[in-house]
Symmetry: D2
C-alpha cells in the first residue's frame, strides 16, 4: 500500500509545489489540509480544488476560526501573553491549531507522515514538529524546504514545468504570516535593523500618526473571557475581529522588535495585532483591579514562562498544562468592564468597574469615609523591615 | 541636652507645620532638610529660610539632582524597572535618595530621630522608615500625620495660630509627588476608578491627541548608561531632562492604573514620566539586540523582583544589592544607538545599531549570504521536544 | 447580650488560664475549642471537661486527624514542601486546620472574636490571624500573651489564685508543638546555636546512631497520594502514622536548623518528622520518574513559593489556591511504587516502578536494545548552544 | 599542512583507540590532552607516554586539581548547587575545566578540531561542545563514538589489530566518571530502576550501615569559601579531599536517583560525593545564619537555575556569569564555623558560630533578655494579611 503524507497546505506557491515535490521525493500520496485561522485571502473551497489540481489525492479544508479564538487566543489573553514583553504570539498560537487538524487528517486518511512548508531556521518548524510529536508521537515529519532543498527558484521552475495552476508572480519582498490574532512581517529591507518600517508593510492597521477622532470602547470580561463589547455579547472571535477593526483603524498594535528565536539567532520582526494588544491591555488592567497582589506578582512570572513555552512550540507540553491550571484559577474573578480609548496608536484604559473589584474606596480614599487604620502601619513597617535592619546593623559595623 | 529631630522638609504647608508640631509633641529641636530631586518649584534658599522662619534650629538644603539621576534613576533604567509592568517607580526612587541626606544630617547634627510628612496608609512611610533602618538602625522615626494625628485642617489651624509664613491656600484636589524622573497624581475624583483622568491633572506632558509633528531622537547607551542624545554627550540627568521635554511635548509617558500598595490596598494612580518611559523603551530594545537569550529571559524575572523590592521600600536591602550584581553583569554589552520616534503619546523604536550586537545578518537573512545550516534543525527539534514527546506517548496511552 | 470569644484551647496551663483571663479582660464569655491534629496526650473528653471547669461557657472538641492529613498534610506531600529546603511545615500546616474549626465554632456560637495562646514574636500568631481573616474577615483576634501581657508567671499565679484544676508543674525547658506530621522543639539551651541537641529533646525518633536492623518499606502512590504501604491500603493519616512509627524507630526525620521567621528574626528550631520526611523523599523520587523535565524544573520553584506562603500563614490566600492548581496538574501521573530503606536516620529510595514511568529503558540503555538515535545530537548541540556561541564570538573579540 | 585534532585523552581503551581512529577517519594529526581533575588512577607521565605510543603526535598532561577545586567546585559550593535538589554536578563541573585545557592546547598546537570520547546520548557531549563553542567558537568538534560509529567491540578489535599498548580487559559492568568532587556510576544492572545499588558500585564511601564511631568536624568558611578544617588552614582542594576521606569513611554522600538528562531522556544514576555533600550542607546552614531572609529565599531560585545551567553544559554562558554576580554578592557575609557530625551516612550540622551572624539571641530568646517588641505584631499581621483579607471578603460573598 502506498504511504501517505498529510501536508499543511496554504494554497500558495510553496505548498502547492510541495504536493508534487513530496510525491516525487517519497513516492507517497499527498493529502492537503488547509486550516482557516482567520488569515483571510481566498475561499477555502478554491484552495481545496487547487490542492487537488496540484496532485493531492485528498484535500481537506477547515474553518477553525472559532476554535483558534476560543482554545488558543483566549488562553493567551488570560495569560497576558507577550513574549519578550511585546509579542502576542500570533504565529505561535496558530501552529498548534493547525497541528491538531493535521493529526486528525493523518489518522483519518492513514498517513504516517506530516509535511509542512517551513524553513529550517525559524520557530515554526519546531512548533509544527513538537506539536505533532505530542499529539501523535508515531507520526514522522518532513519539511521539503529544509529537508529536500526546495528553494523558491526551484519551486517556480517545478511549477512551470508541471504547469501547476498557480500564478508564479513575483514574491512579496516580505515574508508574511497572518491570522485573526495578528500579522507578522519579516525579511526584506527589515533585515537591516537600523531601517525603520514603512507604511507599506502594514495591512491590519492604519497609520497612527494620521489625525482622526478617538474611539471609545467598553470591553466586558467574565472570568477572564471577553464576553461583550459596548454591552453587546460577542464570542471571543468576534471580540478579536471587532477590535482588529476598531483598534486597527486607530493604528493600535504595531510592534517592531529584535526577537530571540528558539533556534538561537536574533531576528527582526514587525507585527500588527490591534485586537490582541487592546484585549490584553484591557485584561491586564482588569486583573489589576480584581486579582490579589501576591497572586498578581507571581502570575507575572508565570506569564513570562507561559509565553516562552508557547513561543518555543511547547503548547501541548506538560508544563504548559500545569501553568494553565494556575492561570485558570487566577482568572476566576477577572470579571467586569474596562473602558478604553483607542486613538493615535494607543489603547488606553480610562475606566474600570467590577462587582469583583478588590479596590476598596473606603480603604483607598484620603477623603471622608477613610476606614484604613493608620495606627497599624508602625508595627507593620518595623517587622516588615526587620530582617533588612538586622542585616544593616551587621553590615554597617564592618 | 535637648533631643534633635531631623525632618524631611518640602517647604509646603504640611512639613512647615511639622516643625512646630514635632517640637510641641516631643520637646525636641527640629532640623529641616530639603532635598532637590528635580521636583521643581521654589528655590532651595527660599525653602531653607522658610524652615528657619517656621522654627527649625537648623535647615539644610541639598541639590541632589545628579545624585538622584546617577545612583537611583540609572539603576532603574538598567533594570527596565516597571512595577506591575507599568510604573517606573518615580516616588519609590526618590525616597532612598532623600533618606541618605536625612541620615547624614542626623549624624552631623546629633539627632536621634527622623521625621517625615507621610500618612500611615501609603508606601512612602515604609520607604522612609526601612531606608533609615538600613542606613542608621539606631535612629527612630516619627510621622506626625500618622503618629500625632496632624490632619490637614489641624495643620492649617496651627499655621494660622502660629502665624507661620506659609500661604494656606486651598489645597490642590490631588495629592502630587514629583521629581525629575516623573510625576504622580492621586486622590480627588480619580478615587472613582471609573472616572477618566482629565487634562488638568497633567503637567509634564502635552495632550498626545493634539496633532503635531513627530520628533525623532537617537539615544546612545554605553553599558546600559544613556551617554548621548542625538550624538551630543549628556549626563544621566540631562538625558532624563531632555527627554522629559521632548517626549513630554509629544504626550509620551502618561500612565493610569490601579496599583497594589505594599500596605495591602489597591489605589488609583496617574503618572507622567516621559523621560523615564522613553529611556526604558530604548534600553529594552537595545538589550533585545545585545543580550543573549537565556540571560534576557532570566533578567525579565529579576527585573520584576527588583521593581517589587524598590516599590516596597527595600532599596538598601541585601537582596537588592545582589540583584544589582546580576543586573550590572547583564548590562556589560548594552552599548549602541537606538533611534526613536516620539509622537502622539508613543515612544517607538525604529532603528538600532551596535558594535556589540548579537543580531547576525548572515544567520538571520533569508536572502543571499545566509550562513545558517538548516540541516542542524532536525536533530535539534527531535531532542528539544523529546521529553515532551515521551510524556505524550504515556499520556495518550491512557 | 454578652459578647463571646472562641479560644483555641489545648488543655494546658496557658490556654486554661486564658479562659478566665479573657473573661476578665473583655467581659466576654469564652468558648473553648480543642482540635486533635494528632498531638497525642490527653483524651479529648478530659480536655473538654477541663475547659468547662476552667470557666468556659461552652467547650467543643474535634478529632481532626483525618481532615488534617487529607486536606493539609497531603497537599504538602504533593508539593514536596520543605521550607528552606528542610522543614516540612509541621506547625504551619496545623494552624489552618485549627482555624477552620475556630471559625466554625464562632459562627455556631455567635462569637465575634477568636483568641489564641501565641506570643507576639512567632509565626503562629500570623497563621492564626491571617487564616481567620481569610475565612471570617469580620472576626476580631486577640492573643492574651501578646495583647494582655499574660506571662507564664502571671498565668501560674492566676491558676493558683483561681484554683484552676490544672497542675502547674515545672514547665518543660523547651517550647514544643507537635502533631501527626511532626514535632517542633525550640528555646532552652537550643537558643545558643552552637549547642548541639541532646537525645532528651526527641520523642518521635530513636537515636539514629544506635545499631539496629534496617527496615524496608514499599510506598504506593496514586496521583501523588500515598495509598498503600507494603501493599496494604492506607489512608493518608495511616500512611503518616505508620511511617512515623517505622521511620521514627530508625531515627529518620530529625532536623536542626536556623530558620527565617516571618516576623523578621532568625530562630533555632529542632524538628522531628519521620513520616513526613520519608513520604516526601519517596514522592520526590516518584516524581523524578513520572514528571516531565520542564514541568519538574518549574515545579521546584513553585514548591519553594508554596512552602514560603504556607510558612508565612497564607494557606487560605489566592496565590496558594492558584499554586495548588499547578501542583494538582503536576501530580496527575505521580503513580507507582517506591521502595525505601529506613535505617540509621536515613530514608533512602532503592527502587521505583510505575506504569506511568517516563524512564524508557530502551532510550536509556547503553546495552542491547538502545533505540536512541545519536545522530540527532550534533544538530541539537549546535542549535542549543548557538545563542551562547554567538555571544562568545562577540565577547572574545573584545 | 596536515590538520590537527586535539583529543580529550583519559589513558583508557576508548580514547587510546580514538587516536588512531581519528587519524584514519580524518587524516589529521592527533594531539592527546589529559587533564587531572582528581580522578585518581595512573600517573600523568604514564598516560602521556601511552598517548604517544598510541600514535599521538603530541601529548600534554596537566594537573588541574587545584584549578578544578578553586574555579569550578567552589562556585558550586557557593551556589549550594544540587541539580534536582540532589546531584552536586560532579561530572558537569569537570567538563568546562577540561575544555579550557583542550582549547589552550588547540591554540598552542594549531589544531582546528577538538575530539572527545563521549557517546551521542549523554550530557557530556553537550558540555564539551558548548564549552568549546564558547571559548573558541571557530573550533570544530568531533566525537568518534557518536560520529564515526566507534563501538566498544570495534575499539577492541582496532586495539588488537594495531597492537596498541593497552590491556583490553573485560570492561567494568558500569560506566564510571570520577573526579575529586565525586563519582558517578551508571548502566549495568542499575538500568533496571527497581534494582537497588549493591556495595560493589561504591568506591569513595564505606557502607553507612556498618557500625563505627562518629567523626566530628568543624569547617570554617570565609565569604563562602571553606578555609579551615578543625582549625587548620586548607585550600579548597584540601577541604574536598579531607572531607572525601572523613565523610566517605562514614558513608556520607551516596545518591541514587532517576535524573532528567538534557537530551530529553531520564537515566538512572548513582553518585558518591562525600566531600561535596558535607561542604554544601555546612555552607547551606552557615547561610541560614548569615544571609538575610529575602536574599536567602531568592537565592534558592537562583541556585536551581545555576544548577540547571551547569548541568546543561552552559558553564561559560552569559546567564551563568550574571548569576555568578548575584551569588558572589550573596556570599559576602558567609563567614564562620559549622560543627558537623559525620556518621552513618549522614553529615549533620550540630552547631554554628559567626561574627557575621544575623541570629540575634536577644530577639530570639523567650527567656530573660528578650528585646523583641511584641506590640508591633498586631499591626504587622493586619497589614501583612490585608490583601488576602480583602480578597477573602469578596470571595466569601459569592
Amino acid at each position: 500500500m502506498t504511504e501517505r503524507v498529510v501536508l499543511a497546505y496554504s494554497g500558495g506557491l510553496d505548498t502547492s509545489v510541495c504536493i508534487g515535490w513530496i510525491a516525487e521525493e517519497t513516492g507517497a500520496e499527498v493529502i492537503a489540509v488547509a486550516v482557516d485561522v482567520g488569515q483571510g485571502g481566498e475561499d477555502l473551497e478554491i484552495i481545496r480544488k487547487r490542492a487537488l489540481a496540484c496532485g493531492a489525492v485528498e484535500a481537506e479544508v477547515a474553518d477553525a476560526k472559532n476554535e483558534f479564538a476560543d482554545e488558543y487566543c483566549l488562553p493567551a489573553i488570560k495569560a497576558n501573553a507577550l513574549y519578550m514583553d511585546r509579542y502576542p504570539l500570533v504565529s505561535a498560537l496558530s501552529r498548534p491549531t493547525i497541528v491538531k487538524h493535521l493529526v486528525a487528517a493523518a489518522k483519518k486518511h492513514g498517513a504516517d507522515t506530516v509535511a509542512h512548508g517551513c524553513t529550517g531556521k525559524g520557530n515554526d518548524q519546531v512548533r509544527f514538529e513538537t506539536g505533532i510529536a505530542s499529539l501523535a508521537p508515531d507520526l514522522k515529519c518532513i519539511a521539503p524546504v529544509r529537508d529536500y532543498a526546495m528553494t523558491r527558484d526551484k519551486a517556480i521552475a517545478f511549477c512551470e514545468e508541471k504547469n501547476l495552476p498557480i500564478a508564479t508572480t513575483k514574491k512579496s519582498p516580505y515574508s508574511i504570516d497572518q491570522n485573526v490574532f495578528g500579522r507578522a512581517v519579516e525579511t526584506g529591507f527589515l533585515e537591516d535593523i537600523w531601517n525603520a518600517p514603512i507604511e507599506d508593510v502594514y495591512e491590519y492597521t492604519q497609520n497612527p500618526a494620521t489625525p482622526r477622532d478617538a474611539d471609545e470602547v467598553i470591553i466586558t470580561f467574565k472570568q477572564g473571557v471577553p464576553v461583550a463589547i459596548d454591552g453587546k455579547q460577542v464570542t471571543v472571535l468576534e471580540a478579536i475581529q471587532q477590535l482588529n477593526t476598531r483598534a486597527g483603524a486607530q493604528g493600535v498594535g504595531r510592534l517592531d522588535m529584535v526577537e530571540d528565536r528558539l533556534v538561537g539567532i536574533k531576528s527582526r520582526e514587525v507585527y500588527e495585532a490591534p485586537g490582541a494588544i487592546a484585549l490584553i491591555a484591557a485584561h491586564q488592567e482588569l486583573e489589576n483591579v480584581t486579582v490579589e497582589r501576591e497572586l498578581a506578582r507571581y502570575k507575572r512570572q508565570v506569564e513570562q514562562r507561559w509565553s516562552e513555552l508557547v513561543y518555543d512550540g511547547l503548547w501541548f507540553s506538560p508544563l504548559k498544562r500545569a501553568l494553565d491550571g494556575f492561570i485558570a484559577e487566577a482568572n476566576q474573578h477577572v470579571t467586569g468592564d474596562i473602558r478604553m480609548t483607542l486613538h493615535g496608536g494607543r489603547a488606553v484604559v480610562t475606566g474600570r468597574r467590577s462587582d469583583e473589584s478588590l479596590y476598596d474606596f473606603n480603604l483607598a480614599t484620603y477623603d471622608t469615609g477613610d476606614t484604613f487604620d493608620q495606627s497599624l502601619s508602625k508595627g507593620f513597617i518595623e517587622i516588615f523591615g526587620m530582617s533588612s535592619k538586622i542585616a544593616a546593623k551587621r553590615d554597617l559595623a564592618q
